[in-house]
Symmetry: D2
C-alpha cells in the first residue's frame, strides 16, 4: 500500500454550513480520520472583524467531533480565508490522506504542522519568520518530501494584532510592530511568507533585514500563501507537493503571476497538468480541476502596467477585498468556475502586485509532472 492524497471541493451555503461535509463522510467519500487540513472561503470581509472564519471553524470542529476524538479534531489545520468578493463562491477544500494500492506516481503529497503560540511583539518580525520556517520544515518532513523543489504550495494561517492583544503587550512594556490592526494582518502574512521562502531555500534568513518585512517586496516566496485570522494565536501550516512516495490520480503544479492580470504563467501551468487551456477550460475538462489556490494583492506602486489603480486609496473597501474580486475574475475566467480559493494579502507571496497560483488536477492519461 502507498500513501495517497485526496482533495474534495464542497460548496457551502453559509459559513457554518457543514452539510456537504457530513454527507461526504456519511457516504464514505471522506474518511475523517485522514483529514489533514480544511481550506475554506467564507463570506466575511477577510479583514480584522471577520467572524465568519471562526464561525466556520466552530461548525467544522463540531461536525467532526461526531466522528473523531477531540485531539484528532484539533490536529486538523483549519485554514479559513474570508472574502468572497465578486463572484467568488464560498466553499471548502478538504485535504485528506489515505493509503491505496500503488498506482500513478509521483503524485500529490500533503504534509502539515503547527507552531506554538506567538507573542504579540513577535508578529511581523524576524522571530515570526524563523518560527514559520521551522514549521514548514516539519510539515515537509510530515509529507515525506526532502527536496524543496518538489513543494508547489505552502498554505499558512497566521494570527494578527487586535486592540486587546496590543493592550496586553503594552501592559508588559513590549513594543509591537504596528498599532493598526489591519496593517498587522499584512505584517503577519508577510513574515510568514518569508518564513516559507527561507524553508524552501528561495531566500536565506541573512538576506532578510527585519525592516524588510512589509516593505521590501522584491523579497518573496513563489509558493507561499498566507492568511491572517483573529481566531488563532499560532500558525497552521500545510505543504503540498509531488512525491514518488505517494500515488493516485492527483497532480499539483504552480505558477507565479507577475501582476494581477498576468495570465500566461497560469495558462502554462494549466497545460502542464494536462488541460488544453486555449481560452477557458471547456465544460468537459472542468471536472478534472480539483482546486485552484491563489493569492491576490494590489501592487504597492498604485498602478498596474502603468495604469493607476485606486485600491490603496479607498477608505470604504479594504484593498485586499478589491484585489480578491479582481483577480478572482481573472482566474475564474480561465478555469470556468468561480469556486476557487483566492485569498487576499499577498505580501512577500509572489512579486509585488502579483501572486502564486497552485493548480491541483486529476491526471490526464499520460501526463506526469
Amino acid at each position: 500500500m502507498m500513501r495517497q492524497a485526496r482533495v474534495h471541493r464542497l460548496a457551502t451555503k453559509a459559513p457554518d454550513d457543514v452539510s456537504a461535509l457530513r454527507q461526504a463522510i456519511e457516504a464514505g467519500h471522506i474518511d475523517p480520520r485522514g483529514i489533514v487540513a480544511i481550506l475554506g472561503k467564507t463570506e466575511g470581509n477577510g479583514c480584522v472583524n471577520d467572524f465568519t472564519r471562526a464561525f466556520a471553524v466552530s461548525a467544522l470542529r463540531s461536525a467532526l467531533a461526531d466522528h473523531l476524538e477531540p485531539e484528532s479534531v484539533s490536529r486538523i489545520a483549519y485554514v479559513m480565508s474570508g472574502g468572497t468578493e465578486g463572484a467568488l463562491s464560498p466553499h471548502l477544500v478538504v485535504l485528506e490522506r489515505g493509503t491505496a494500492e500503488p498506482s500513478s506516481s509521483p503524485a500529490l503529497a500533503i504534509g502539515s504542522a503547527q507552531t506554538g503560540d506567538i507573542t504579540p511583539e513577535a508578529i511581523g518580525r524576524l522571530d515570526q519568520v524563523e518560527m514559520v520556517a521551522d514549521g514548514v520544515r516539519r510539515a515537509m518532513a510530515d509529507a515525506g518530501i526532502a527536496n524543496p523543489a518538489d513543494i508547489h504550495f505552502v498554505q499558512i494561517k497566521c494570527p494578527l494584532l487586535t486592540g486587546e492583544r496590543m493592550a496586553e503587550a503594552d501592559r508588559r512594556g513590549a513594543s509591537i510592530a504596528t498599532r493598526d490592526t489591519l496593517k498587522s494582518m499584512g505584517l503577519s502574512r508577510g513574515a510568514s511568507a518569508l518564513g516559507v521562502a527561507v524553508a524552501l531555500g528561495e531566500l536565506s534568513i541573512e538576506d532578510i533585514p527585519e525592516a524588510a518585512i512589509g516593505n521590501r517586496f522584491d523579497l518573496f516566496s513563489a509558493r507561499a500563501s498566507t492568511s491572517a485570522g483573529v481566531e488563532l494565536l499560532n500558525h497552521e501550516i500545510v505543504v503540498l507537493g509531488m512525491s514518488a512516495n505517494w500515488c493516485g490520480p492527483l497532480m499539483i503544479d504552480h505558477a507565479v503571476m507577475a501582476d494581477g492580470i498576468d495570465i500566461e504563467p497560469v495558462r502554462a501551468a494549466l497545460k502542464r497538468v494536462g488541460f488544453v487551456a486555449d481560452g477557458q477550460l471547456s465544460e468537459a475538462e472542468r471536472p478534472r480541476l480539483a482546486a485552484l489556490l491563489a493569492k491576490a494583492e494590489p501592487s504597492s506602486s498604485g498602478s498596474l502596467r502603468g495604469a493607476r489603480h485606486t485600491m490603496l486609496d479607498d477608505s470604504d473597501i479594504a484593498a485586499t477585498r478589491h484585489a480578491r474580486a479582481f483577480v478572482g475574475g481573472v482566474l475564474a475566467s480561465l478555469v470556468g468556475t468561480s469556486e476557487i480559493f483566492v485569498s487576499g494579502g499577498a505580501e512577500h507571496q509572489g512579486p509585488n502586485g502579483g501572486g502564486p497560483v497552485a493548480i491541483i488536477a486529476e491526471r490526464k492519461e499520460g501526463v506526469f509532472a
Copy 2:
C-alpha cells in the same frame, strides 16, 4: 471630405483631473469643437452618493469652456460612470467627430441625442422606455445610420430617485416606482436599456409589460449600456456603429457575455477586429485597442454556473461594485490593460448576469467589419 470618428483614451489622476484633456487640445490632437461625448470612469462608489461623477463633469465643462461657447459645452454628452473597483483605472474616453480625406470605410460612426427631463414618477416605467427609444432613434439619425444592425453600442446616462425627488413627487401625490434610491438606479438603467432594445428592434414595446422592468431579465438589449447618476434629470444618449458614410482607421464590434466569465464571445469579437487574441493581447497588439466598453452585473439567481455568489446578500459593498471588480478582472486579463470602461448595473443590458462588451480598435491592414 468624409465624416471621421476619433477616440481618445486619457488617464486621469483624480475625478477633476483634466490635464490630459487640456494637453491633447493644446497639442491639436483633439479639436474641442468636434467632441460629441466624453465617457469617464471615476473613483466613486458608482451608487447614489457618488459625487465624483458630477465633480468630473464640472471640471470637464470648466476646461472646455476655455475653448467653446457655453451652448457647445452643454451639447456634449458627459457619461461619467463611477466605480473603479479592483484594478480598474480612472480614465476618460473622448469621442470626437471630424472630417477627413476619404479613407478606409466603412468605419466607426458616432451619433448623440438628449431627451427632455423626466419626472420622478416616470423613472423605471414604460414612459421612460419610450422616452429613451425616441432619443436613440434621434441619435441614430444624428450618426447617419439607418439600419439598427449597424449599431454596436448605445451608451446612456440616466437619472435616479433621491430622497428629495421622492419628496417632491410625494408633494404632488405622484406615485413613484420605488422608495429605495439604490434600487431606483437599477430601474432607471433597466428602463433605459429596454428603450434601446425597442429602438434597435430587439424588442417591441408591446412585448414589455411595465412590471417586467427590473424583473423579466430575459428581456434585454445586447447593445445597451446605461449608467445612472444623481447629477442629471434627463438622458444623454450616444450611439456607436459602423457606417459606409464614415471613414478612418477605427472599427467597432460587440459581444454579449452570457455570464460574468463568458470570455469566448469577447475573444471572438477581438479576433473579428483583427487581434490574435490567443490568450491575452500581446504588448505589440495592445496599442491598437482604442477602447473597451462593457457592462457588468451579478446574476439575480445568486449563482454563477451553479456556484453560489454572495454579491446580492452583501450589505457592506453594493452588488454593482462587486460585479465591476470581478468582470473588470475578466476583461482586463483579455486585453492586457485595466484602463477599460466597465460600468455596473446591467439590468436588461445583455442576459441576466452577463452583459454587452464593445471593442473599438484601430483597423489592422485588410480587416473590415
Copy 3:
C-alpha cells in the same frame, strides 16, 4: 412564593464569547432553567450578511447545552441584534424568571412565545402582522399580563428574504413582497411591529392596509422593537411589563422618541423609574440601570428637524448602521454607558425617524411605577 424577573447584563469579547454567561451560571447568579430570553448586541453589520448573530446563538446554545436538556435550550428566545456602531458595546442581556419570597410589587414581568415558520411570500404582508399579533397575545398570557397597558416593551426577532428563499418562492410561483434582501428586513420588521400594535390595541387590523406596510409610518406601535435576522424562519417574541403578580427589585418603563434627538421623553422615563436624570446619570446612579433597550432609524423624510441627513442616500454604509451609531450616542450620553441595546430598523416602531426606548432599573426606595 411569587414570580420574579431577573435581568443580567454581560459584556462579551466576541460574538461567540460566552465566558461571562458560563461564570454567572457557575457562580449561581443565573439559573439556566429560568432563562426566558437572551438579547445580545453583536459586532456584525446588522444587515443581511451579518453572521455574528448566528455565531452568537450557536455559542449560546452550545454553552447552555452543558446545563439544559436540548428542548429547554431551544425554548429560549435568542434575540441577537447585529451592529455596535459608534461606541455601542457588544453585550448580552439575559432575562430570567424565578420565584422568590413576596417583596416589592408590582414588578417586572416577562413572557415569551414563538410563532411557526413563515413562508417567504408572507414576509412583509398582513399574514405576518396577524401571525405576530397572535404570538404577542400568547406571550402576554405567558407573562400573566392581561391589560395591554401594562406592557412596556415587546421584542421580536423576525426572518428576512435571502436570494435562496426568493428563488424557492419563485420555483413555487409565489409572489414575494420585494426582491431586495436589505429591504425585506425592513418589511419584516415593520409587519412584526404592526403585529405588536394590533395585539396591544394601539391599532386595529382593519386600520392597516397591506400597502401601508413599509410605507405609512404614521401607523406604529410605541412599544415594539423588532429585529430581522437571516438565521431564523419564525418569530421569537418576548414581552416585558409590570405586574402585581410578580415581585422583586426591577421595574420597567418606556418612552417614545419623536425623532433621533428627542431626549426629553427618555429623561422623563428615567425620572419615573427613580433616576435624577439632570444631565447624565451620575456614577452612583448608574449601577441601578439594568438595561436600556431602544430602536433607532433614519427619518424617511431625509431630514431631522429641517436639517437634511444623508443616511438614506449613502451606498457605502447602510442607513440602519448610521442610525444606530447616532442614536447610540444620544442615549449613551444620557445614561453614561455605551453598553445599551440599540437596534436598527424601527419601521412602524415609534414614529417615523423616532423610536421606542425601554428602561429596566432597580427600584429606588419608594419608587413604584
Copy 4:
C-alpha cells in the same frame, strides 16, 4: 468703527451646492470681501478618497470668483470636513470679518494664516509641528489676540500622504512616516494639533519627542481641531477667540470632552454663553446658537468607560466615521440640531477618546465671557 466677526450657517443640498451662499451675498447678508474662512461638512467618507471636499472647495471658489479678485478668492481658508455620518447635516459655516459701530465687547475675533507647502517626509513629524505652531502665531497676530488664553478654537486643514506623494518621496530617497494613506491622515492631524498646543503654550516643543506623534495621546491641545484632506499641500489655519478689540453680538467658549459621552463640560460651556442647557436647548433658545464645532475620535484603548467598543477593529467602516456618528448624536441631542460641525480624527486634540468643543452663540443680554 470697531472690528466685528460674523458667522453664517448655511445648509447645503450637495457638496457643490453654493446656492445659499450666493443668496446671502446677493441679499447683502454676507460681504464676500470680508470672508476669512468657510468651514463645511460634506457628504464624503472623510477619509483618503473623499472627493466631496475638493468638489465643495471648487464650487465655493467658482461662486466667489463672481464677486472677488482671484487672489482674494485664494486668500480664504476653505476647511471642508468630510463625513456627515448619523444624522449630521451637510452645511457651511462662513466666518466673516467687518467693522461696525462699537457695541458689546469683548466679542468673537477671527484670525487666519496659511503655511507654505509641506514635503511628504515632513508630514507627521516635528517639522510639521513647528511649521503649524508658526502659522498659528501668525493667525493670532492677524486676529489681534496676544494672550493665548483668549483663543478658544484653532481650526486647521492639513495635507496627507497619497500613493503618488509617497512615490515622489521614494524617488528622492526621502523616508516618510508611514506608507498607509489613512494612517497618514491621523499623523498629519496629530502633528498639526501639537503645533497648536505649542503656539498656545499648552505644551513646549521640548516636551514632544518625534515618536510621540500619533502615540503619546496624553500630549494634546484642548483647543485644536485639525482635519486632513487630499486636496491641499499646505496648512490653512483659522483661530477663534475673544477680544476687547472686537465688538458685536457673538461670543465663543469651549469645552473639552474627556470621552465620547462626557457631556457635562459641554453643558457648562453652553451655560457660560447664556443658554439654560437643562436638558436640550429649547426651541426658543436654538436660534442663538451660531455654530458648534467639535472633534470626535475613538479611544485608542478600545473601550469607553470600561465598555468595549469595536470602532478600531472594524474593517468595513473607518473608525473616524463611527466616532463622528456617535459623538454627533451626543452633541446634537444637547443643542437640538444636527447641523453641527463634528470632525473626525482628534489625535492630540483633547484627551484620548475625547475632544474639544467650541460654541459660538449670540450673546444673551448681560452675558459676557
